[in-house]
Amino acid sequence: MAAEVYNKLTMLRWASPVMLLLLAIPVGIGLLMVLLPAFGFMPAIGGYEFTLAHWRDLFGVPGIVRSILLSLLAGIVTPAIALAVVFLFMASASATGLDRWVRRFVSPLLAIPHAAAAFGLVFMIAPAGLLARLISPDLTGWDRPADLLIVNDSYGLAMIAGLVIKEIPFLLLVAITVLPQLNPAQRVSMARSLGYGPSVAWLKMVAPGLYPLMRLPLVAVIAFASANVDVALILGPTLPPTLSVRLLGWFGDPDLSMRFMAAAAALLQLGVSLLAVVSWLLGEKMVSKFYRLWVRSGNRLGGDSAIFFLGRTLLPAALVVIGGSMLALFLSSFSLSWRFPHALPASWTVQHWVDAIPGMGTPVFNTLIIAAVSTTIALVLVVGSLEFEQRSDRKQSSAMWLLYLPLLMPQVVFLFGMVVFAEFFYWQPNLWLVIFGHLLFVVPYVFLVLSEAYRRLDPHWSQLAAALGASPSKTFWRIRIPLLLAPALSAMAMGIAISASIFLPTQLLGAGRIATVTTEAIALASGGSRSTIATWALLQSLLPMLGFLVALFVPKILWRNRIGMQEG
């Protein structure tokens, strides 16, 4: 009996090393494949010597400083605004119907791919966008759109706005997942009994406890915002664009000698993302100092109504913008002719959908298989390593940071290295290679969503179960899993959404042979027909949306008669 227990532990023991190696090795190799060319070594295209020339080239590129600053700015400002909006909302939210509704429907919004949301946003706010159309020409007198630089502005404000509205649902989901562990209702009512206004009470009593639990997801947001390509391409500045966009261009330059400078730029991008993270962590120290002063000040009502007002407006406004963007895409997917200043298409067609449907079978099938397999593997690994952590009562190893490497590194960089690596072993591009590539991104997000909830689950539950004579596996299946069902399903939905949305790993590791909804959508997006883009963007959102709806409603239905399982 004891030996069996021991064996189970040894099995579990492997989960986290396997997971880390699985992620770190390919990323490490990919990194190496960039490190060498960045310093001049790439025999396949005639680079045999160590040189710093490519770095000199890189820093001689016109506008490079501005590109770097844009990436850095996006990396820091995006999480700051998104976090503020989410916290203000949660501070002002109460158990009212609207808030419950917002919480419930925010997660399906995560299913919308970044590019789709960005594209939708352009179609909302551009000079020829839906908003301008609604008031033109009657109110504005514009029969041609005003010549205003609203999107693609030089400071990247539109890009940051696009990133913010996409990250808000993510941070809100994470916050909602971990919040119940903090007993927020109890904390707030305690503070209110001491005379604090409700919103101030939340910010003073709950927020300081919640923030540390959100640090890792925030790091992911920082990395994403500073290195993203999709949103920057659609909404970002063009003279010059962000570093990430230029880097991708250099990697794709037909002039293969550009690969050297591209490699140097990739390292630079990695440095910029790291710098953004470090600046955030330093900024956090400063802010927390002032925050603590405010918490201690004893001020009970100051600003309560302002907080309440901002909280009730900002986040819903962001959601309205996403909703509006989706509506714009929806209309567009049925439009045949839709010129400015018409607020609705002048003529309608189902042709775009009819065009899309016959070829959808294989991509949808592949998307489902890849998402299901990679998410399942990721879940097993993540739960395995978390469960080992619990049973062996070990602290999280600092090696867990390795998990976030794939999120911190520019994708194009290590994926290209991985292709070389796979080719080196004559691994033909196939479904498994693609699934493996997806794991690199699915695992960190599944971990991100699940780990805090898992670790913060009151240890008394398991102790109690053990004291009642339940074996570790009975405790796991009968107690921990059900108690953690909601966060586990959220994590799965997140994994599916990530898998369904990623493009480069599928394209590169599958040599383009494994068509998914996203690869089709992106190939068609390059052709630029607005209606086709809209149709495929909606198709792309559909599948992950189902995952989030399942994650949302299964626990609701399952626990409909269990008061203690209802989220606080």
Binding site: P43, A44, I45, V61, P62, G63, R66, A126, A128, D143, R144, P145, D147, L148, L149, S154, P237, T238, L239, G252, D253, P254, D255, L256, R259, S335, S337, W338, R339, F340, P341, S347, T349, D355, G359, F416, V419, V420, A422, E423, F424, Y426, Q428, Q507, L508, A511, G512, R513, T519, E520, I522, A523, L524, A525, S526, G527, G528, S529, R530, S531
Partner: protein, 405 residues
């Protein structure tokens, strides 16, 4: 054992075929053995997948080569051809020399140049194709040159392209017929024109068109670029652009990044004048609702840049025989007719009508172009691409000049 011998034999034939440099007959033993080898092979055709029409055309092609030759053709849809270039490069880096994943690819000029220069292509084979004769390459030198880079049989022509301008006839009836007139037109219609930012393909084509028109000594542009020639040949271009930019959409503080965005800007009435590399663009755009019905296209008075796009075979493709057969079929009158037909692909054929039999020629002549397209005599005003070294130099200089820290 037997299969192995067969394989050796066939690759010998392929070699012979490839090096002969002369088109073989469709019923010659050489070609027939290639066709036989091609049977049951799978060809991964890496081609831009950004357009439903192109994708449909390639689906049709897959069906045809399956039923005619037993070749299984799969379209690998690329968002950017450079992806396939990267892939072949990675394979070479890893030492994968004969089992590559890219068989055939539709490579634009720059990509082709990079592939050829880095020995990533199989060849020469293209001039040995039976249908090569239909191109009349002696009459049309552009069939042997891609951006003035000699193709030397490493790629086979597929489609023809030419820069055409288009305008919204609801807004203007007198579009400018030259670069100089364009400047005057934009000053009279501020914010009604823009061009994509280099290194976008269409954006650089616009710059090349401008430099060809504005330069005092056009001949310089057909030789490799040198520092002194560059100054001399492009001075007028920079003068022109400096003067043009303040009158562009958003006063030159923003540039679109693709031809697709130009179409959207026209549809949104942001601009009234744009350009494309497909003479059928306007007809197709109107049909799909991407362009207003009032769009019309034309060719500049002094002619516009024209080129041919090619398909190539990767050096490490394991299915070279089948790829060769597909490339040959692409040049057949059946395939070309469908490519030119605006009901299907809506591009321009590379075949020389004089080389076709009468029945086929009649079919081509019977195709309707539509009122939105430029007239045929306009399309005869062609300019050759400058030497590719100019493209990189102009791109560089453009970035230096218009991007600041």
């Amino acid at each position: 054992m037997f299969r192995k011998t067969l394989k050796v034999f066939v690759s010998a034939v392929l070699c012979l075929f490839a090096s002969s440099g002369l088109a073989v007959e469709e019923d010659s033993a050489e070609w027939l053995s290639i066709v036989k080898e091609a049977q049951h092979q799978t060809v991964y055709f890496n081609a831009w997948g950004g357009e439903i029409r192109t994708n449909r055309y390639l689906e049709w092609l897959a069906g045809e080569v399956e039923s005619r030759f037993g070749i299984h053709l799969q379209h690998v849809k690329l968002a950017d051809t450079a992806q396939a270039v990267s892939r072949i490069l990675a394979e070479k880096q890893a030492g994968n020399l004969n089992n590559g994943s890219v068989d055939m690819l539709w490579a634009n000029g720059e990509n082709f140049a990079a592939l050829k220069q880095n020995n990533l292509l199989y060849g020469p084979w293209a001039e040995s194709l039976p249908n090569f004769l239909l191109l009349d390459a002696d009459q049309y030198p552009e069939m042997r040159e891609d951006f003035t880079v000699p193709v030397e049989g490493y790629a086979s022509p597929w489609l023809r392209a030419q820069l055409v301008f288009y305008y919204d006839s609801e807004y203007t009836q007198q579009p400018p017929g030259s670069m100089r007139k364009l400047l005057a037109w934009v000053k009279a219609n501020p914010g009604e024109f823009i061009y994509p930012k280099p290194p976008d393909f269409l954006g650089t084509t616009f710059l090349k068109q401008a430099v060809l028109e504005l330069s005092d000594d056009r001949a310089l542009l057909y030789q490799p670029v040198s520092a002194s020639h560059f100054e001399q040949a492009t001075a007028t271009l920079w003068e022109f652009l400096d003067e043009l930019h303040p009158w562009l959409l958003r006063r030159g503080r923003y540039f679109p990044v693709s031809g697709a965005q130009l179409r959207r800007l026209v549809l949104d009435r942001e601009i009234a004048l744009a350009f494309s590399f497909n003479p059928h663009e306007v007809a197709l755009g109107i049909a799909s609702g991407e362009l207003p019905t009032s769009s019309r296209s034309y060719v500049l008075d002094g002619g516009t840049i024209s080129n041919v796009s090619f398909v190539s075979i990767a050096f490490n493709s394991p299915n070279k025989a089948a790829a060769t057969v597909v490339a040959n079929f692409l040049l057949s009158p059946v395939a070309q007719l469908r490519a030119q037909d605006s009901a299907y692909l809506g591009s321009m054929t590379v075949l020389s009508l004089n080389k076709l039999n009468k029945a086929d020629r009649q079919k081509f002549l019977a195709l309707e172009l539509g009122s939105a397209a430029p007239r045929v005599e306009q399309l005869n005003r062609k300019l050759q691409e400058p030497h590719p070294s100019w493209m990189a130099a102009i791109e560089q200089a453009w970035l230096q000049r218009y991007i600041t820290n």
